[in-house]
């Protein structure tokens, strides 16, 4: 059975649409102009399926779609995720200089340019004895290209562990194996170049062609499979850690223009020591804590210190996001390893949509919408965990006395201990 016979009707239609989209990119259409068409047909289609289709279209003779056209489409593909987390026209985090994805893509462009320079040099080599300047240029450019090792190492040592953490074991294993084959092909080129006078340029050209083929294929896989996949599963904390950990492995050809700093809301004003009586409560924590001021709460009074201790004793994971969807507070009563939703302190001040992987984002945004508009006041969920816990989660809209929306409180509790109770206990332990 041929490839096309195995495809179902929906897939056939998608191939057709993809071909038209790529064809218009080839003819000079801007990525923006075909975004809507792409989103309409490829929402929820796996990166691997899209990648296979793209590959087939590049290889087939009945069109003039090139590698470059597919690279342009990769931005469009990435934007499919972006458009769900940012306002139209807004630049999303992964497009900013210094973001690990931005670095990967810039390096790949620079590496491809180096491959093309080397192809050009080899073509110009002419007959032996070879022009010394060209040989020196060739060796220069191979040195530059050799920096792809830093690119691979970062991917293997920094990105892959995060993928594995989310249960994506297979793509890293396969890709790492191919990386090693490419390294070996490159080593052959470099070592043969030393003996070019005896073995001739044809051999070098042949070696380099085998390398360049696999190398370009890897760039293709990174752009069409790896990046769409990780964009869907990594959250901003993962990216921050990756950005930091990347530094020690170095970069290939191009250095990041700057350090990537995602946007955050800062709740502690920089001049907390200055006496500005009109500032909001949270900016004056340090002074209030020591003052022990009695604050009116509900039916009585509590000091800030008492409030903090009480919140940290409630047997619940409490999380609060404010009306602007900024993740603002979580308590600390449950041990991190027992938490159903461990939170890093670095997430405070972040927009809530950035704390979730895009695949769960739709549900999160719907929930926020329902609670903030008053469609719902409360939503509960429950599920068992592998560690024996039975988790009960409640999201409740927080409103002020006039009913104005203030944010969402989430409380999470392991109710397995309660489910196990029977009979009664009315005395002391």
């Amino acid at each position: 059975m041929s490839e096309s016979e195995r495809l179902n009707d929906a897939q056939k239609k998608r191939v057709h649409v993809l071909k038209n989209i790529l064809q218009s990119l080839h003819e000079g259409a801007t990525p923006e102009s075909i975004q809507e068409e792409f989103d309409k047909h490829f929402q929820g289609v796996s990166a691997i399926e899209i990648s296979l289709m793209e590959h087939e279209l590049i290889d087939s003779d009945d069109n003039d779609i090139t590698f470059e056209d597919v690279m342009k489409l990769c931005n469009v593909h990435a934007n499919l995720f972006k458009n769900r987390v940012s306002e139209p026209g807004e630049i999303s985090e992964f497009e900013k200089p210094g973001h690990p994805i931005h670095i990967m893509r810039t390096e790949n462009q620079a590496l491809r340019a180096a491959v093309m320079r080397i192809n050009r040099i080899i073509k110009n080599l002419g007959e032996a004895p070879y022009e010394m300047g060209l040989l020196k240029g060739l060796s220069n450019q191979l040195d530059l290209l050799g920096q792809f090792d830093a690119h691979y190492k970062r991917k293997e040592e920094v990105w892959f562990p995060v993928m594995e953490k989310y249960g994506h074991d297979a793509p890293p294993k396969v890709m790492w194996g191919v990386d090693d084959q490419i390294r070996e092909l490159f080593r052959v080129v470099v070592s043969n170049l030393e003996n070019i006078e005896t073995i001739g340029k044809e051999k070098i050209a042949e070696n380099f062609e085998s390398f360049a083929f696999e190398f370009n294929e890897m760039i293709f896989k990174e752009a069409t499979i790896l990046i769409p996949l990780v964009l869907e599963i990594f959250n901003e904390d993962d990216w921050l850690k990756i950005a930091t950990d990347s530094e020690e492995y170095g970069y290939a050809i191009v250095r990041p223009e700057k350090k990537w700093v995602p946007e955050r809301t800062d709740f502690i004003s920089s001049d907390t020591t200055a006496s500005t009586p009109e500032v909001e409560g949270e900016t004056r924590i340090s002074t209030l804590q020591t003052s022990g001021a009695e604050l009116p709460f509900g039916k009585g009074f509590l000091t800030l210190n008492e409030v903090a201790k009480i919140l940290d004793l409630l047997p619940l994971e409490l999380t609060f996001i404010n009306k602007d969807n900024i993740f603002k507070y979580f308590n600390d009563s449950i041990l991190n390893e027992d938490k159903a939703f461990p939170r890093p302190a670095s997430a405070i001040g972040r927009e809530v949509k950035n704390c979730h992987p895009p695949k769960s984002l739709d549900m999160v945004l719907k929930l926020i919408d329902d609670l903030s508009t008053g469609e719902k006041d409360k939503e509960s969920m429950w599920f068992p965990r592998k560690n024996g816990q039975f988790i009960h989660v409640t999201y409740v809209a927080v409103r002020d006395d006039d009913g104005a929306y203030m944010g969402i409180l989430e409380y999470v509790q392991d109710i397995q201990p309660f489910r196990e109770l029977s009979g009664m206990k009315r005395g002391l332990s």
């Binding site: 491809r112 340019a113 320079r117 050009r120 060209l134 240029g137 530059l144 250095r255």
Partner: protein, 77 residues
């Protein structure tokens, strides 16, 4: 990113497009480029045609060097 080096645009722009070119230019005689301040000031005003005259090297040598490294040159005066 392509490999065309335009001799008519400011050196700063050239290096923005092809940052890997810097060591080659420095080797060819553009020593001041190593200084970030010079790159950001003079580099924004001077193109490769003008730069070659300032540092007094042969434009033919520079073109050869770039070609030998796989670049295409344009706008050479």
């Amino acid at each position: 990113m392509d490999n065309v080096i335009d001799f008519k645009i400011p050196v700063y722009k050239v290096l923005e497009k092809n940052p890997e070119l810097k060591p080659l230019l420095v080797e060819a005689g553009f020593k001041p480029l190593m200084d970030q301040k010079m790159l950001h000031s003079v580099g924004r005003l001077v193109n490769l045609n003008q730069g070659v005259k300032k540092i007094n090297i042969s434009i033919g040598d520079l073109v050869n060097k770039l070609e030998w490294n796989g670049y295409e040159v344009k706008g050479v005066e």
